[in-house]
């Protein structure tokens, strides 16, 4: 089995890394606060937001995600629809709402050939509590993001979410990762 590729990230005091770290923590805060419109404003108009289905495969198969199926495969229109739905009075699955905590860590930033674009990978533990006493649901994932600077702001241009479970153990994805 060949080793995976390792490329060192930018040092943590690099301004671009600080910007990436700041972006992800602010984004998590917006999601946990259910500040949906603020979250949408962090997205690039051309956003691609994809969470492929993870599969359990033998070593050497070279593939552990389905190419033809995802949990999310979204653009700005469909993400807006999801937010619009959550803001109706009839999105029953989130009434009472989940209490979520997006725990973001292991943030690593890579420069690209373009000054105003960076690749950022991070680990995410999404903790989701529903109802009084149900056990806390956990979605564990890595994320590969591409951020683009537009004027003074960084915007999320693409995100690939690599869930760690082949079979999700949360009742639905009425939440965002």
């Amino acid at each position: 089995m060949t080793d995976a590729v390792y490329v060192p990230a930018l040092p943590h005091d690099d301004a671009r890394h600080l910007a990436a770290q700041h972006f992800l923590v602010e984004e998590a805060a917006a999601l946990d606060a259910k500040a949906w419109e603020a979250w949408l404003r962090m997205l690039h108009d051309e956003i691609s937001y994809v969470m492929p289905v993870r599969v359990t495969t033998a070593v050497g198969d070279g593939l552990d995600e389905r190419a033809d199926m995802a949990h999310f495969d979204e653009d700005l229109y469909s993400l807006r629809k999801r937010v619009e739905r959550l803001r109706t009075d009839h999105a029953w699955t989130e009434d009472p709402p989940s209490r979520t905590r997006h725990v973001v860590s292991n943030v690593r930033t890579h420069a690209t050939s373009s000054e105003g674009e960076i690749d950022v990978s991070s680990s995410l533990l999404l903790l989701r509590s529903r109802g009084d006493t149900r056990p806390l649901e956990v979605v564990s994932a890595g994320r590969d993001d591409h951020l683009v600077r537009v004027g003074e702001r960084w915007l999320l241009r693409s995100r690939r979410i690599h869930g760690d479970e082949a079979v999700l153990r949360t009742q639905n994805l009425a939440i965002l990762l």
Binding site: M51, V53, V55, T56, T57, A58, D61, R66, D68, M69, A70, H71, F72, D73, E74, Y77, S78, K81, R82, E84, R85, T88, H90, A91, W92, T93, R134, A166, V167, L168, R169, T170, Q171, N172, L173, A174
Partner: protein
């Protein structure tokens, strides 16, 4: 609890349209279901398009039985029990892949993808070679019956159940409407898999005929203009049908001929032409003359279908999608949902892409329809666990008067087979539950406690 006594009581209550609430969480009921429903029904495992090339396999389950569904080197679809003949290790621990040989990681017994034993270490020294242990007489255990319909691979663990086509009966007519849009048939993508704390029956009942929940449960998707059809006044114009081993719901389409009505749902002309060719005159008439379009459905026991046509862009155009889903029981109170996207293999690439997008927005793990369904089902399962639920018979009598007579008769004119009824009613759920109860009371299976399949 004596199983027979209480199962008979459940069946008697179901016959009255009253469902004992505890059947949605009772472990004793689940133990009977495991034997009587899942061992004697034809259960869907996979579609041929998921294993297109020789060696392609997927691993699927029927309750606790792990089964490898594989295309062998000669191109035949095979199903093997995923357990080594020697010490019982699972010979395949991946979920999907391609293999010429499945090799047990314990002692390295190896099986060709057609199931036959290819090799074992020290065959001569340890076993006395072919003279004692002939490899071609040993194969991974196949289930009692394997058959396909429109490329859908079904397995039955009992040899006593009638052949698949006979089992499905007239439901096959409706199955075609989801899975035969051209001579090439569908291709299946996925599945998404996730586990919900809900009893497996609730999803089956919902998809088999619950038009009544749509306007309220799914109100948010109407609010945001994703799918306009579920408005209550529109939904009740549809019919529910029940035929053979399944039933489903339909929407009433606006006036028009076959092509106009298929266009309304969002199919491009080239696909409409292929459907017109692939469907029988009667299937064609269901749309062209009666104006009904299939939506949700369930084939007993746990395979469901859905066909909707949401708006996936701001341009106002709708795009239809089809999903197959299986409610795979894990326990009395937990279900693994497997949800696939299905599309005609001959459909244009642009349509496939848009239809996939429509599916993701509406159904599956993140679908905006499905999210609210699952919330209901988890809550029902949870509420059914306690002692109060043991007292409660849930009212599933919609469409019947106090004496059990039907409030309105079945349709006299309906192109499809089976019984069709307009408007809201729980006829289909009662039919599905009656099938379920008839399995539960169906007596013991013949070969139940006699292991006899291994070879010396």
């Amino acid at each position: 609890m004596t199983v027979d006594g209480s199962i008979d009581a459940i069946a008697a209550s179901i016959a009255e349209g009253m469902v004992p609430a505890y059947v949605y969480s009772d472990p004793a009921v689940f133990a009977v279901e495991r034997e009587q429903v899942f061992r004697r029904s034809w259960v869907f495992l996979a579609h041929e398009s998921e294993i297109a090339a020789p060696g392609d396999y997927v691993v699927r389950r029927i309750v606790d039985d792990s089964l490898i569904v594989v295309r062998d080197e000669a191109g035949a679809v095979r199903v093997h029990f995923n357990m080594c003949l020697h010490r019982g290790m699972q010979v395949c621990r991946a979920e999907v892949g391609n293999a010429a040989v499945f090799r047990c990681p314990y002692h390295a017994w190896s099986y060709r993808n057609d199931g036959t034993l290819a090799g074992l270490p020290f065959h001569d020294d340890a076993y006395g070679g072919e003279a004692v242990l002939a490899r071609d007489e040993h194969r991974l255990l196949p289930p009692a019956q394997v058959e396909t319909y429109n490329g859908l691979i079904f397995v039955c663990l009992s040899p006593d159940t009638p052949p698949l086509r006979e089992y499905l009966g007239d439901f096959a007519y409706y199955l075609d409407l989801y899975t035969r849009h051209s001579a090439s048939g569908i291709e299946l993508h996925g599945p998404q898999r996730w586990r919900i704390n809900a009893n497996w029956k609730i999803g089956c009942e919902n998809f088999v005929g619950d038009m009544y929940h749509t306007p309220f449960t799914h109100r948010s998707v109407v609010d945001i203009d994703l799918f306009r059809e579920p408005k209550a006044n529109k939904r009740k114009e549809g019919v529910v049908y029940f035929a053979g081993k399944g039933g489903g719901t339909t929407y009433k389409l606006p006036a028009g001929d076959f092509r106009e009505r298929m266009r309304y749902v969002g199919y491009p002309d080239e696909m409409i032409a292929r459907m017109a060719k692939a469907w029988t005159t009667s299937q064609h008439r269901l749309v062209a003359d009666d104006g009904f379009m299939v939506s949700a459905a369930t084939a007993f026991p746990n395979l469901s279908f859905v066909h909707n046509w949401p708006q996936v862009r701001s341009d106002g155009n709708v795009v239809p999608f089809i999903s197959l889903r299986q409610w795979q029981p894990v326990s009395a109170t937990e279900t693994e949902v497997l949800s696939w996207f299905a599309v005609d293999a001959e459909a244009p690439d642009g349509f496939k892409r848009d239809s996939y997008r429509a599916y993701l927005m509406c159904f599956g793990s993140s679908g905006m329809f499905e999210q609210d369904d699952v919330e209901n089902w988890v809550s029902i399962t949870s509420a059914s666990r306690g002692s109060m639920a043991r007292r409660l018979l849930l009212n599933s009598r919609m469409g019947l008067d106090r004496n059990g007579a039907e409030l309105s008769p079945p349709l006299e004119h309906f192109a499809g087979p089976g019984t069709a009824r307009a408007g809201f009613g729980e006829f289909n759920q009662r039919n599905w539950l009656t099938l379920w109860a008839s399995h539960l009371t169906g007596g013991p299976l013949r070969e139940r406690h006699e292991p006899s399949e291994g070879r010396r």
